[in-house]
Amino acid sequence: MTAHPFMFGPASRQIFGIFHAAKDAQPGDTAVLVCPPFGQEGLRTHRLFKVLAERLARAGVATLRFDFHGSGDSPGDETDGELDGWRRDLCSAHEELRRRAPASRIVWVGARLGATIAVLAARNGRCDPARLVLWEPVIDGRRYARSLREQHVAAIDTTFCIPDLAWRRSLAREPDAMPEEALGTLLSPKLRSQLGALVAESLPLTALHDTLVLTPPGDEHTAQWAAEQQSRHMPVRLAYFQHRLDWTSDPYPNSAMVPAGALNRLQGALYE
């Protein structure tokens, strides 16, 4: 089974996608839309989602992977990147998958900021996912931005023999400042503003789909958000999941790029 790379979406905002057709597809089967993370996390998980898509296709699950505008292979500059546009990209991708797998129940598998965009996109009613699988969603934009900054400073420290300490000093001086760049990706002013305003209250789930949240043990922030959604009688379940994937590192020996545990967990998450 050969994956098919193509462009889709409106002419003014083309998006790159790669479609993995299902082997022996039947009407009513499941199809999966992968919502990738932002920046370096997106590059880091490319291979994982490629292998996941191949595995799903072999199991009869059509899968569409895509890159948000200004990321990966999609056109656009990073300075154009912001949540509203990416939310629309996700809905375009959903419509494209619906066109290619018309009778399928569509599940969105989102990771990190991709999971957050999935929550935002599922609320607008334009697209109809049957289930959201949210792998370590970003619930607190400021906390996420700070973590990106810390990882950026750590990467500079690790790579240079004599690192530019201005990065570290800036982090110490203004720990809550929103970064203009992180790990090789620029953050547009609008994205910085949106991340600054992103809090648990801005991510209410709907009852139009069920939701499975995967988060590492000890992530109380995400657990609390999921509990709040349950208290609103939303069909959401939280499952703890520990894995060996380093979200932000470069590929290097002895660092798992496609941890088998993550593959198995995500595949199982489609049905449980």
Partner: protein
């Protein structure tokens, strides 16, 4: 981005390779196109998406490009298992040239190779006369004693105050004292290791032939990997060879190996982009119709055979 159109493609043996052709929209494409591919295990967009950014910049100046995944890397399938990695990579690069030749009629190419990709780029240039220019980032390096000592001394002086020193020291101790296999780097990440003298001999001989063939050569070295440089330091004894005068050599002190900062990305793209466009202008003026790939004589074929594992991670 209105300066370019993007065309996803599958090509190569068994349609196993996946890539993206980027073409200029505002002007006729230059008669030289650029090829970009994987650095290590990064997929075709390159570390920090640098290949996409470079492709857009080149398209804005009128140069078409193809970025793609070698077989078995990124989205490409591992179709050819009959040859070693180096030979497969040359075949893949030649398939990329064939594609652009059939799509756009372009028969001259600049190859941009980074890190592990440098060896593949050099081997492809040696094997195929359609390659008129090579940009090589953090590839072959043979620093001599003085340069090695200076690098080591600078690292040692910086180490105690270095924020990541405790972590690095712990990993070094684990690797050297406990014999913990999980702390040891894998041998020849994505390549096979070869003795330095064999790599240097092959690299020197190939560079000499490429210079004689008037292939433009740009050698770039990052400050993060190589620390310091007093001019051609990374070439060692090869820097004193006559062919070295024809190289465009640059040590990029503020650029790191994987382009972690926007400043580093900008410097790299400016350096490579300007040079590639200059090569395109020069090649189109001097070599309006290069001869297609021809079979080399047996002696040349042996000398130009890709070196297996010529690159070793540093």
């Amino acid at each position: 981005m209105n300066d370019a159109t993007q065309n996803p493609v599958r090509f190569g043996a068994g349609n196993s390779l996946v890539g993206m052709v980027t073409m200029p929209t505002q002007q006729v494409a230059a008669p030289v196109a650029c090829l970009m591919f994987n650095m290590g295990a990064n997929h075709r967009v390159g570390p920090r998406r640098i290949n996409v950014k470079l492709a857009h910049a080149l398209a804005a100046h009128g140069m078409a490009s193809l970025r793609f995944d070698l077989g078995g890397v990124g989205d490409s399938d591992a179709f050819d298992s009959a040859h070693d990695l180096q030979t497969r990579s040359v075949h893949d690069l030649q398939a990329a040239m064939d594609l652009l030749e059939s799509m756009l009629g372009i028969r001259q190419f600049v190859i941009v190779g980074m890190c592990s990709g440098v060896e593949h780029a050099v081997s492809a240039a040696a094997a195929d006369t359609r390659v008129v220019a090579l940009s090589l980032f953090d590839g072959f390096a043979f620093p001599e004693r003085r340069a090695r000592w200076e690098r080591t001394l600078r690292r040692a002086l910086a180490a105690p105050a270095h924020p990541s020193f405790p972590g690095k020291a712990k990993r070094w101790l684990l690797r050297h004292l406990t014999g913990n296999p999980s702390a040891k780097p894998l041998p020849g990440f994505l390549t096979e290791k070869q003795p330095p003298e064999i790599r240097a001999a092959w690299f020197g001989a190939t560079m000499k032939r490429l210079v004689e063939r008037k292939v433009a050569l740009q050698l770039l070295y990052s400050g993060s990997l190589h620390v310091c440089d007093r001019g051609l330091d990374q070439l060692g004894a090869l820097g004193r060879e006559p062919f070295a005068k024809a190289l465009q050599y640059q040590f990029m002190r503020n650029v790191d190996h994987t382009f972690c900062t926007a400043e580093g990305q900008l410097r790299y793209m400016q350096t490579v982009g300007d040079w590639a466009m200059a090569c395109a202008r020069s090649a189109s003026a001097e070599r309006p119709s290069p001869s297609p790939c021809t079979s080399p004589s047996p002696a040349t074929a042996a000398a130009e055979r890709p070196l297996r594992g010529a690159y070793a991670s540093q």
